[in-house]
Structures are given as C-alpha cells and as structure tokens.
Amino acid sequence: MLDKEGIAKRIAKEIKDGYYVNLGIGIPTLVANYIPKDIDVVLQSENGLLGMGPFPFEGEEDADLINAGKQTITMLPGSSVFDSAMSFGMIRAKKVNLTILGAMEVSENGDIANWKIPGKMVKGMGGAMDLVASAENIIVAMQHVNKAGESKLLSKCSLPLTGVNCVKKIVTELAVLDVLPDGGFKLLERAPGVSVEEIKKATAGKLIIEGEIPEMII
C-alpha cells in the first residue's frame, strides 16, 4: 500500500519530457518533488504563472508571488506571468498537457466529483471545473476508499459532479487504473504488497482485470 508520497512518486512517472503540467492542491502538489531529473517540465499555476519553482527560502517569500493554492513560491528562469483570462485561455485551448488533481469520487465513465458535499459548507470549485472540462489528459490522485470505508471508484458518482467523461487515469494507495473510453476501470498495476482481491473489494464500479497484474515499480 502506498502513502501519499508514494502516490505522488508513481504519478510522477506519467510525466513526459516537454510537458506543461497543472498540479492541483493536495497529493498532486507533492508530485513536483518526484519529477524525473532527466526530463524538462513546466508547471502551470492557474492564477497566472508558467514555470512555478520551489518554495522560497525562509525570509525570501514574496507576497506578490503565490500559486493557485495561495502558497508562497518562486519563479524559475524562463517563467512567464499572465492574467487569469489568459491562464484559463491556455487551459481551454488544451495547451496544458497534463492535469493532476484530487477527487472525492470518480465514476467508471470518467466523471469526477471533487467540489461539493451536500449539507456541508461549499467552498467553491476554483479552477477545477475549467481544468476537467478542457484537459485532454487528466490523472486523479486519491485514496481508493473514503474515511467511512466506501469505495470512491463508482459506477456512478453520488456527489455533485465537477466534470463528465474526463478522467483518464487514477492512482490510489492500492492501484493504477485506466478509465476506458467505453467505461470501466482497467486495472494496470497493484501497489506493493496489495492483492488483486483487495483492489476488487475496494472498487465499487466496473473493474476490468485482464491477465496477470504486475506490481508497480516506484
């Protein structure tokens, strides 16, 4: 079973040389720490920055320089700043190659719910609806089951949707799964020490298992 860092590590392997990547809040933010050293990647922050760098050194933080999670960050050589309209313009125009975000639920047809729980205070969707509606390559980083022990990989989402037919891949503490174009979670890899049976038990939606499922290498 993977911890959060492990999920982030595994997702980092999906990032290819030359990608522009948008990382959501939570586990996705951790992915930046594990981008392979031999590839070139630019991180987009949807408040209006390409080329997000690491957190500043203590005392060097700049109130005018934050990421979409409102954290103080730095710029790197080659960074560019733009307004929020252009930022979502490049997202809608599919210039961002990969979007990694968290979710509360994903359905077997790729719907995602991650912004609202009825009866609870709703904080807002931020840029998530824009990202999932336009991105061509969306990976969800999340726990396989919620705190109540219920599967988050469903045949149909029960929570209000953020977007439809958009998630391409899911990485959880248990497994890596593709969401197939015709529906269904195709099991690709097991987390170290996790059995196919455990994944079956934790997956409420249609799970597709073909042949031997390898243990992931992270």
Binding site: S45, E46, N47, G48, L49, P54, F55, P56, F57, E58, G59, E60, E61, D62, A63, D64, L65, I66, N67, G69, K70, Q71, T72, I73, M75, V81, F82, D83, S84, A85, S87, F88, G89, I91, R92, D111, M121, V122, K123, G124, M125, G126, G127, A128, M129, D130, A133, S134, P160, L161, T162, G163, V164, N165
Partner: protein
C-alpha cells in the same frame, strides 16, 4: 487621398496629460452607492486593493454585490466588508478561508454565487472586450449548467456565459501613471487586468504613481483608456495567506 503628410504640429505635452489622479481611496470611491455591483481584483490576499477596501468599510456603503475570485479572510481583504455586513452577494470561485463568511451564508444573511474560476475571468474579459457572451465547456454536465444555454461546436458542448456588468472595478497595480496606465507585478496580476477592463468606472490603486513616460509603452499591462481614477495607495500590508518556505 492625402495621408496627413502636412506638418503635424501637436506637441507631446499638449496631447497626453489626461490627469486621472485622485487624492486617495476616499475620493476614488466617493460615488459608490448602496446596492451597486463591484469587481475587486486579487487572488486570495494577493494583489487586492487594500486601500479601497478600507475606504469602503469606512464609508459604510451597504448591499453590495462583489465579484471577486475569493472573499478574503476573517480580518483582511473582503472579509473586512463581510464583518460589517456590507456585502449582499458574493460572486466568486472559492470562498474557503473565512469563518464569518460561512456563518452569514448558513444563516441566509449572505448570498453566494459560485462560478468556475476561468468562467469568472473570461466573463470579465468579455465585458472589457465588448463581447456580450462567451462559450466555455467549464461546468458542462454539472449543476453549474442548470438553466443555461448549452451549445455544441465541433462535437463538444459549451455553456453560454454572459459578460459581467459591474458599476465599478477596483484594482491594485504595482505601478501606474497619471494617465491610468498600469503595470502589475508577478502573480499579483491575476484578475486585476481583466477586471480593470470590465468596470463601467475603473479605480486603480498603485504602490507607485509615476509620470507619463516613466512606464515603457511595451510593458504596460492595462492601457489607461480602461482606467478612470488612480491614486498612490499607502500602508500596504500585503499579507501572506499561506507562508510556505524551504530550508537553506
């Protein structure tokens, strides 16, 4: 046809002296009235018009509809106007950092309309670019699409979203000149330029007010034509919402 090859005799100091400078935040906001719709620049607490927010609190104008990506925190930013119950409605994409906001919302004192961040930005831009509507896929298949026109272009569904119609846009820039030209710094740019374009009247507060000619024409983010009033703000706190650092 004559292409104006005769002597063009106007001189520089004749032409460009449209002085939009006001004395400060109080004068800039003096005609903002109860019930008006305001756009307020900034993302989180980054790049917010601190001086104008303070002046609005002081003035006590009420029943405002505020279009702003966030709602500040309890004791800073738009949070200050929420505390004094001056805001009737917030139009935002994310309002998560504010306990008083939550209390007013749950008690029904405050109305909130949550819209996707890109839709928010693009509806501002549409106003500034004279486009009545824009089409975006954000929110298709979700409750955001309810009651809105959905239209398919090239096999993909889009929502029709209207340009905003705000009485005032209030923005914060790094530098500005007396003609209203603005330059922003780093990610404090965020919504400020698109809102600056979108107000019927646009107020800009700047950290440094300079003379025309001091800003490089190629570096100006918001041309002065969009700005009606400008002043040099003071005592900027520039509070950091989430200080994250690494060790040396």
């Amino acid at each position: 046809m004559v292409y104006g090859q005769k002597n063009t005799i106007f001189t520089s100091n004749q032409l460009l002296n449209m002085n939009k400078v006001v004395s400060g935040a109080d004068e800039a906001i003096k005609d903002i009235k109860d019930g008006m719709t305001l756009m307020l620049g900034g993302f989180g607490l980054c790049g917010i018009p601190e001086n104008c927010i303070a002046a609005l609190v002081k003035k006590g104008v009420k029943g405002l509809t505020c279009i702003s990506n966030n709602a500040g925190v309890d004791d800073f930013g738009i949070g200050l106007m929420l505390k004094t119950k001056q805001v009737k409605k917030m139009i935002s994409s994310y309002v998560g950092e504010n306990a008083e906001f939550e209390r007013q919302l749950l008690s029904g004192e405050l109305e909130v309309e949550l819209i996707p961040q890109g839709t928010l930005a693009t509806r501002c831009m549409a106003a500034g670019y004279g486009m009545p509507v824009i089409f975006t896929p954000a929110g298709i298949g979700t409750e955001i699409a309810e009651g809105k026109e959905v239209r398919n272009f090239n096999g993909k569904d889009y929502l029709m979203e209207m340009a905003f119609d705000a009485d005032f846009a209030i923005v914060k820039a790094w530098k500005g000149d007396s003609m209203g030209n603005l330059v922003f710094r780093a990610t404090a740019r965020n919504f400020n330029p698109v809102m600056a374009m979108a107000g019927k009247i646009t107020i800009a507060e700047v950290e440094e007010l300079v003379e025309p000619g001091e800003l490089d024409p190629d570096h100006i983010h918001t041309p002065g034509i969009y700005v009606h009033r400008i002043f040099q703000g003071k005592n900027y706190e520039k509070r950091i919402e989430q200080k994250t650092v690494r060790k040396k």
